[in-house]
C-alpha cells in the first residue's frame, strides 16, 4: 500500500528548467494543452502531434526518469482503455477509439508531468489566489499533510494484525481491514482535536 504513497509525487522537488518555472505558468500550460487536445476536431487529428511533441519535450527537460513516467501512465491506462474499447462497438468505432485513447493518454501525461514538477503547496497557493473558499483549501492542505500519517498508521496496523494471523482467510481479512478502517477514523477524529488545539495555541481563531 505504501507503494501508492511513494508514487505520489516523489520528483516534485527536483531541479530542472521545468521545475523552476512558476506554478502559475505550469498550471496554465497544462490547462491549455488539455483544452487544445480535447477541442481538436476529429478531422484535424494530426494536430495532436503538437501537444504530444510539447509534452515529450517537457518530460525530457524535467529530468524525471522516463521509466517512472511510463510506469505511472501504464498504471492509469487500463481504465482509459477499458472504457474506450466500448467505443469499438459503434460504426466507425475504430477511428473513435484511436482518437479517444490518444486524447486521454495525452491528458494523463499532462497531469502526470504537472504533479511531478509542481509541489502541491504551490497549487494550493494558486487556489487561494483564485479565491477558492478557505475551508476547502484548509481541508485540502490537511488532507495532503495527514494522508501519509494515516496511511502509515494503516500500514502498521495491517502489519501488526497480519503477524497475528496464522491462517489467512478472506473473511478474516475483511474483518481486519474493516477494523483497521474503524481505528483509522477514530484516530483521525482524535488527531483532529489535537490539531485544533495546536492551531489555537498559535493564535488561530
Amino acid at each position: 500500500m505504501s507503494l501508492f504513497l511513494h508514487l505520489l509525487n516523489p520528483h516534485s522537488r527536483l531541479d530542472s528548467p521545468i521545475h523552476r518555472l512558476a506554478a502559475r505558468i505550469k498550471l496554465a500550460a497544462a490547462l491549455a494543452i488539455i483544452a487544445a487536445t480535447l477541442l481538436c476536431p476529429p478531422t484535424a487529428a494530426s494536430f495532436l502531434l503538437i501537444p504530444a511533441g510539447l509534452l515529450v519535450m517537457v518530460a525530457a527537460l524535467s529530468r524525471i526518469p522516463p521509466l517512472f513516467i511510463l510506469r505511472r501512465l501504464l498504471l492509469l491506462e487500463p481504465l482509459v482503455l477499458g472504457v474506450a474499447l466500448l467505443s469499438l462497438l459503434q460504426p466507425n468505432g475504430g477511428q473513435i477509439f484511436v482518437l479517444l485513447a490518444t486524447r486521454s493518454t495525452l491528458c494523463l501525461l499532462t497531469m502526470i508531468l504537472l504533479s511531478n514538477t509542481t509541489p502541491f503547496s504551490a497549487l494550493l497557493g494558486i487556489m487561494r489566489a483564485c479565491r477558492i473558499p478557505a475551508l476547502l483549501i484548509t481541508t485540502l492542505a490537511l488532507l495532503y499533510r495527514y494522508l501519509f500519517v494515516l496511511a502509515e498508521e494503516a500500514e502498521r496496523m495491517t502489519r501488526a494484525r497480519a503477524s497475528r494471523t496464522f491462517v489467512p482467510r478472506h473473511r478474516r481479512n475483511w474483518r481486519t481491514s474493516a477494523s483497521v478502517a474503524s481505528q483509522l477514523f477514530i484516530r483521525a477524529t482524535e488527531r483532529a482535536q489535537r490539531v485544533y488545539s495546536a492551531m489555537c495555541s498559535r493564535g488561530w481563531q
Binding site: F120, S121, R145, R191, R194, V195, S201, R202, G203, W204
Partner: protein
C-alpha cells in the same frame, strides 16, 4: 557536561513571576479529578522541570498554561496568571502570544504542507506583513539549525527534525515563556543531544514536562514533582532528584547522571 547547580539562576530582574498558579483544580468528569490544588510560581528566565509518572496530570497542567483547558473558561480571575495577567477569555490571544506550547507529538503540531508555511503560521496569526513573516521564519529556522528547510514537506522529515520545526514555529512568535511537553521523547541520542543544546541556548523562561530525568538534571534549576494530580514536591534539582526514597515513592528513579556523581 553542564549541571544546573545553583537554584538562584533565575534573574531577579522582575519581581513578577512569569507563571503563577494558585490552587488550580481540574476535573475531566465529576468523579475523576485530574488536578488538585496545584500552586507554584516560576520566575522569569528560570528553567523548571515538571516530572511525575504517567497519568500524573503533567499534560493536563501544561494545557492550563495557555488556556487550552478549561474548555469553557470563566470570566472571573482564574487560578493561572501569566506575567501577572490572569487567564480570561479576553486575555486569551495575548496569553497565547506569550506562552509557546510544544506538543508531545510533532505530527499534531506540524499541520501545514511545508516547513515554511508551518513556521509562518504563528506570525501570520499575529498579523505581520509578508516581509516580517519571512524574516521571522528565517531567523527561527536558523535558531534551530534548520536553515534551508523552508520548502521541505513534513512527512519527509525525521522525528528530531519535525520537533525542531515545531520549536521554530513557536520561536517565530517570540514568546516570553516556553512550555515543553516531552521534548526528547522518541529521539535518537544525537537528536536528543542537539535538542538539549538548543534548549540550553534559548534564554526564555522554560517549563519542561518530561520523563527524561537526565535532561532535567542537566537543564533545570528547579523541579516540580506531580503525582495523582497533586504537587507532591518542589525544590532545587540536585537535592530533589538525588533523594532516592522520594523518587521511588513517586514511581520515579534517580537519574543516571546523578547516580554517577553521588553513589549511594
Amino acid at each position: 557536561m553542564t549541571l544546573s547547580v545553583s537554584p538562584e539562576l533565575a534573574s531577579p530582574a522582575s519581581a513578577q513571576p512569569a507563571i503563577e498558579v494558585r490552587k488550580l483544580s481540574f476535573h475531566y468528569s465529576p468523579t475523576a479529578a485530574a488536578l488538585r490544588d496545584i500552586s507554584f510560581a516560576i520566575a522569569p528566565g528560570e528553567c523548571v522541570g515538571l516530572i511525575g509518572p504517567n497519568g500524573a496530570g503533567k499534560s493536563t497542567l501544561l494545557f492550563h498554561l495557555n488556556g487550552l483547558l478549561p474548555e469553557r473558561p470563566s470570566n472571573a480571575d482564574g487560578p493561572v496568571l501569566i506575567s501577572g495577567q490572569p487567564l480570561t477569555p479576553a486575555n486569551l490571544p495575548a496569553i497565547r502570544r506569550q506562552v509557546g506550547l510544544l506538543f508531545q507529538d510533532p505530527n499534531d503540531q506540524l499541520f501545514c504542507p511545508t516547513v515554511f508555511e508551518d513556521v509562518a503560521f504563528g506570525p501570520q496569526q499575529l498579523g505581520l506583513t509578508a516581509a516580517q513573516i519571512a524574516a521571522r521564519v528565517r531567523s527561527a529556522l536558523a535558531q534551530v539549525h534548520l536553515d534551508g528547510f523552508e520548502s521541505r514537506a513534513p512527512h519527509h522529515l525525521s522525528t528530531g527534525e519535525k520537533r525542531r520545526v515545531c520549536l521554530a514555529g513557536i520561536l517565530a512568535c517570540e514568546p516570553a515563556i516556553l512550555v515543553l511537553d516531552e521534548p526528547t521523547s522518541n529521539l535518537d541520542p544525537r537528536s536528543r543531544r542537539e535538542l538539549k543544546a538548543l534548549l540550553q541556548q534559548i534564554p526564555t523562561t522554560k517549563l519542561i514536562a518530561t520523563h527524561d530525568l537526565d535532561l532535567v538534571a542537566e537543564l533545570c534549576s528547579r523541579v516540580l514533582i506531580l503525582n495523582h494530580g497533586q504537587l507532591v514536591a518542589e525544590g532545587p534539582t540536585i537535592p530533589l532528584l538525588s533523594n532516592e526514597r522520594l523518587m521511588l515513592q513517586h514511581d520515579l528513579e534517580c537519574p543516571h547522571v546523578l547516580r554517577h556523581l553521588h553513589p549511594h
